[in-house]
C-alpha cells in the first residue's frame, strides 16, 4: 500500500463498474455497492429464516433454534413494551430488526459496505415508522391522539407553548432515531479504519500495539452492531406503544 486511503472512503457509494449506468429522468439510479449490499442483506435474512423453517422439527436443530430464538426475542420485546395489542405489528418490527441487524453485521466484514452508516437509509426506515405510527395513532384514537401533545392537567396558559414543544419532540423522533444508528455505525467504522492506518504506518515493529487495540475494537464494534439493532427496534416498539396504548 503506497497511498493511504481516507478513512471515510469506505462510505463512498459507487456504481458497480461492470453494470451499465441507469438514469431515470434527471436521477442517477445506477446499481451501486449500497444496493448490492442491501440485496445481499435481504437475501441472507430470507435464507436464514427459510433455512430455519425448512425442517419444522418439534425439537429444533441448531439452525432452527437460531431462527426461533430470534423470533422469540422480538416477540418478547413487543409483548414487554406494547402488550398483547402489539401482536399485529410483529411483522414490521421483526423485518426492521433483522434488516438492521444483518446490515450492521455485514458491515463488519472486510471490504463490504455498511448500508446503515448512511443516514438516508436509516432515515427512510425511520420516516416509514414515523408515518406509520402517526396513521395508527389517529386511526385508533381519532382526534384524541392530540392528547399526546397536550398532557392532561396542563394549565391553560401554558397549553399553546407546551403543544408546540411536544409537537417538536414528536417530530424529532425520526431524526434522532436515524441519526443515532447512522452516527454509531459511521463513527465506529471510521475509528477502525484510522486505527488500522496506524498499524500500517508504524510497520512491523510498532504496529502491534494498535493492532491489539484493533482486535478489541472489532469485538466492540460487533457489540455495537447488535446493540444498535436492538435500540432501533425497541424504540420502534416504544413509538408504536404510544400510538396503540396512549398512556
Amino acid at each position: 500500500m503506497i497511498e493511504a486511503e481516507s478513512p471515510l472512503s469506505q462510505f463512498e457509494v459507487r456504481p458497480i463498474h461492470f453494470l451499465p449506468p441507469l438514469h431515470l429522468g434527471p436521477y442517477d439510479v445506477s446499481f451501486t455497492n449500497a444496493s448490492l449490499l442491501m440485496l445481499i442483506v435481504v437475501g441472507t435474512v430470507l435464507l436464514f429464516l427459510a433455512g430455519g423453517a425448512r425442517r419444522g422439527a418439534l425439537v429444533p436443530g441448531r439452525w432452527q433454534s437460531m431462527a426461533e430464538s430470534t423470533y422469540l426475542f422480538v416477540e418478547h420485546m413487543i409483548r414487554d413494551t406494547i402488550g398483547d395489542n402489539g401482536r399485529q405489528y410483529f411483522p414490521i418490527v421483526f423485518s426492521i430488526f433483522l434488516f438492521v441487524l444483518f446490515a450492521n453485521l455485514f458491515g463488519m466484514l472486510p471490504y463490504s459496505f455498511t448500508v446503515t452508516s448512511h443516514i438516508i437509509v436509516t432515515f427512510a426506515m425511520a420516516i416509514v415508522i414515523f408515518i406509520g405510527v402517526t396513521i395508527i395513532g389517529f386511526a385508533r384514537h381519532g382526534l384524541d391522539y392530540f392528547h399526546l401533545f397536550l398532557p392532561s392537567g396542563t394549565p391553560w396558559i401554558m397549553a399553546p407553548l407546551l403543544f408546540f414543544i411536544e409537537l417538536f419532540s414528536y417530530l424529532a423522533r425520526p431524526v434522532s432515531l436515524s441519526i443515532r444508528l447512522a452516527a454509531n455505525m459511521m463513527a465506529g467504522h471510521t475509528m477502525l479504519k484510522v486505527i488500522g492506518g496506524f498499524v500500517i504506518a508504524l510497520g512491523i515493529l510498532g504496529g502491534w500495539l494498535p493492532f491489539a487495540l484493533l482486535v478489541v475494537l472489532n469485538g466492540f464494534e460487533i457489540f455495537v452492531a447488535l446493540l444498535q439493532a436492538y435500540i432501533f427496534t425497541i424504540l420502534t416498539c416504544v413509538y408504536l406503544n404510544d400510538a396503540v396504548n396512549m398512556h
Binding site: L58, V59, P151, G153, F164, I165, E166, L167, F168, S169, L171, A172, R173, V175, S176, L177, I179, R180, A183, N184, L227, Q228, I231
Partner: protein, 101 residues
C-alpha cells in the same frame, strides 16, 4: 418422535431447568448506549426546530424570527425528551413516590 420419547425429553428439560439458578436474566441497556441515545434525542430536537423554522421563514419571508423561535422550542423539546428517557431509565431501578403527572 413418539409420545413416549417426547415425554422423556420433556422431563429431561424440566430437570435441567430446575437446576438452573433462575430464568433468563433481564436485559440491561449499557450506559454508553443510554448516553448516546439521550445525546441524539437532544440533537434531534434542535435539528428539527432549525429545519421547521428555516422553512417557515422561507415560506412566510420572515427571516429570522421563526428560525429563532423554533430552535428554542426544539431545544426545549429535545431536553424534555431527554429528561423523560432519563427518568424512565432510572425509574426502573427505584420507584419515585413523588412523581409528577
Amino acid at each position: 418422535m413418539t409420545d413416549d420419547e417426547l415425554e422423556r425429553l420433556g422431563r429431561k428439560i424440566d430437570a435441567a431447568r430446575g437446576r438452573q439458578p433462575s430464568s433468563r436474566p433481564k436485559k440491561e441497556p449499557s450506559p454508553a448506549g443510554e448516553a448516546m441515545r439521550m445525546g441524539t434525542e437532544f440533537a434531534g430536537g434542535v435539528l428539527v426546530g432549525a429545519g421547521v423554522g428555516y422553512f417557515l421563514d422561507r415560506w412566510l419571508d420572515t427571516t429570522p424570527i421563526f428560525l429563532m423561535v423554533c430552535v428554542a422550542l426544539g431545544a426545549v423539546a429535545g431536553f424534555r425528551t431527554m429528561m423523560r428517557s432519563a427518568r424512565a431509565a432510572s425509574g426502573e431501578e427505584k420507584d419515585t413516590p413523588d412523581k409528577p403527572t
